[in-house]
Symmetry: C2
Subunit: 343 residues, 2 copies
DNA sequence: AGTGTTATGATAGACGGGTTCTTTTGTCTA
DNA sequence: TAGACAAAAGAACCCGTCTATCATAACACT
């Protein structure tokens, strides 16, 4: 015989069999009570429920999952929980998951080391998940060394499209077009760009949008500046531009923190915003941190993105599971850091 | 007969039995290969591994958990993922969990509705968790209607102590004492307080610290102001104080965002910071958002807190599981929003 | 008395991985 | 050639939940 069944309730979670023994009924009846099935005498039901209560019975997640083949949880793998993009993604997904009575199994990969789709997939595969979401905003996904797990929905949050995997992201390219069109309408043409670190994919697409918008109007883009997403880096860049570029009339910073830093730098350099220079950012993330937030920016509906991501990772039964590349458009929020170009 | 065994590999994950069939060996041999056990012929091993590769075998989480009785995941229940306190807690726990090769099963309760320990516990009980962490910063925990699940570690993040459950929190009372002592040393006595919403437990303890510090020096505390943690609410409060209190020499805002708003308001009112009024905050959360962050504040080591929380939720084998109430001390960060009181 | 209906028990199979026990096979030695 | 021994592989079973049968009762209605 292998391992003998232990009746030692102290070292083992309480099972249905334990409850059945305590209530003097069969395991079958306990199951009927636990699942609210009919054909149970009211008196028996109460006796069983009392036994459950007394023993502290809770159904085994493992047993149930093994039988049902589902986990009611969706896996989420990100490199850094605190990054604004990841955080708001988690928020959106959490919201969608709650609506589906689903939990999130969160794995944070190393913040510092590179991380690959292959490695993320391997780790998520060993977890109780019905679908997998991998956030790849920090670098280009290594599609070539990656194969999606068969039989489990996979969604990658990235701007790059993949023929066999659904990808979802905020439209980091389109947001630039929105902002640039806004600035064009106000008469601006000399629009400098303060970007994030060049390895960031979000950065690459936002910058491409800025550049394409200018080139479409046959304006030669001036050298883009590189920051690190922080307000301080935006300040440095703003200082540099204020001192070296007298023709610039607007600044597009690739996120709100840098835009906020740039505004401070411009003002410290004696320039007025928006009268002398218009400034725009992206994310709409300042509200809590800055009083009277005046920054014109683009807001992404991250709840919508979360829902999209979730529903593609855990497709409804019967849904077609064809892979798609979804880009959630942003919404232009016009405040008072932008103004018509003075004549 | 119950449910017939399906040999239809297309609709079912690949099991050891499938691999065994494909490799022409028994399921046990597959197990030996999968777990690197000895006594397997090298040729057989290769044949089995080839079959695994070909079929895309991955071990079932449910099957393994059922056998081992462990899930390698810790449950985390918060009301709102995006709240600074919760976010940094998630970050700290994620970090500790990664070190233990453990995942986080995250459940976000409704952001708006009240949520109770009883409900949170009930939901977490149905999930694959080896331990439970419940964040209760928003309200006082309902200890009276709550019983910890037997046989599973439970940690509540709250300032309130409980006789039978381990509680952990940043020391929201002690941080006030640190800041007040700093202000006292600079000669300040008329120190106004801008707090968060009064239902917040963090707020209640931070305010109590402010009040006790004053009373210990026999200074009558002036009426505390109530904000909502946002920079805008700090701005409003700062405006009000600038106009109505000419004796005030310092402001203690219960978080950095409100402190930042208050500073803007003071400056808009023609007061200088720190020459005329010193301002302090709590959290050290501004760095990314504000260029040249000058705010004197208190920083909590949230990674340490995360580790403490994690290790009490998932106690090591053999560890004593006596319940404790842990308060992580903050660290005073002196920048340039505070100065010696002019004569 | 015959026909349902309801409540419950007994038994068992399925899910997938892991452990223990047992059997087979092969090799070496006396 | 027989016995000893080890390596290799198979057989059985357990973990806990759920469901599918089937078999009994007890009870009510016609």
């Amino acid at each position: 015989m292998a391992r003998r069944p232990s009746n030692d309730t102290s070292s083992r979670p309480v099972s249905m069999a334990d409850v059945a023994r305590a209530a003097g009924v069969s395991q079958q009846t306990v199951s009927r009570v636990a699942n609210g099935l009919p054909n149970v005498n009211e008196q028996t039901r109460q006796r069983v429920q009392a036994a459950m209560q007394k023993l502290g019975f809770r159904p085994s997640y493992a047993g149930r999952s093994l039988r049902d083949g589902r986990y009611h949880s969706v896996g989420l793998c990100v490199n850094d929980v605190t990054k604004f993009g990841n955080l708001s993604m988690i928020d959106g997904i959490a919201s969608a998951a709650r609506e589906h009575n689903c939990a999130i199994t969160l794995v944070e990969m190393s913040k510092t080391e590179e991380f690959s789709l292959a490695e993320a997939t391997r780790r998520m595969a060993a977890l109780p998940v019905d679908g997998i979401i991998i956030g790849m905003s920090r670098m280009a996904p290594d599609f070539e060394t990656f194969d999606p797990l068969p039989g489990i929905g996979t969604v990658i949050v990235t701007m790059y499209a993949h023929p066999r995997v659904t990808t979802v992201d905020s439209d980091h390219y389109g947001c630039s077009l929105l902002l640039m069109d806004h600035l064009f309408e106000l008469g601006h043409e000399q629009i400098r760009y303060i970007g994030g670190p060049s390895f960031s994919v979000d950065e690459q697409f936002r910058r491409a949008g800025w550049q394409d918008a200018l080139e479409r109007k046959h304006i030669e883009p001036a050298e883009p500046l590189e920051g690190d997403w922080s307000a301080n880096s935006g300040y440095e860049a703003g200082r540099y531009l204020a001192e070296h570029d007298r023709t610039m009339t607007a600044i597009y910073a690739a996120n709100d923190q840098m835009a906020n830093g740039a505004i401070a730098a411009l003002r410290d350099s004696g320039l007025r915003v928006p009268e002398d220079v218009s400034v725009v950012g992206v994310d709409d993330s300042l509200d809590d941190f800055v009083a009277h937030n005046e920054l014109t920016t683009v807001r992404f509906d991250l709840h919508q993105r979360g829902r999209e991501v979730f529903e593609h990772a855990v497709p409804k039964a019967g849904a077609t599971d064809k892979t798609v590349a979804i880009r959630i458009p942003g919404q232009l929020i016009i405040r008072h850091s932008t103004a018509i170009l003075r004549a």
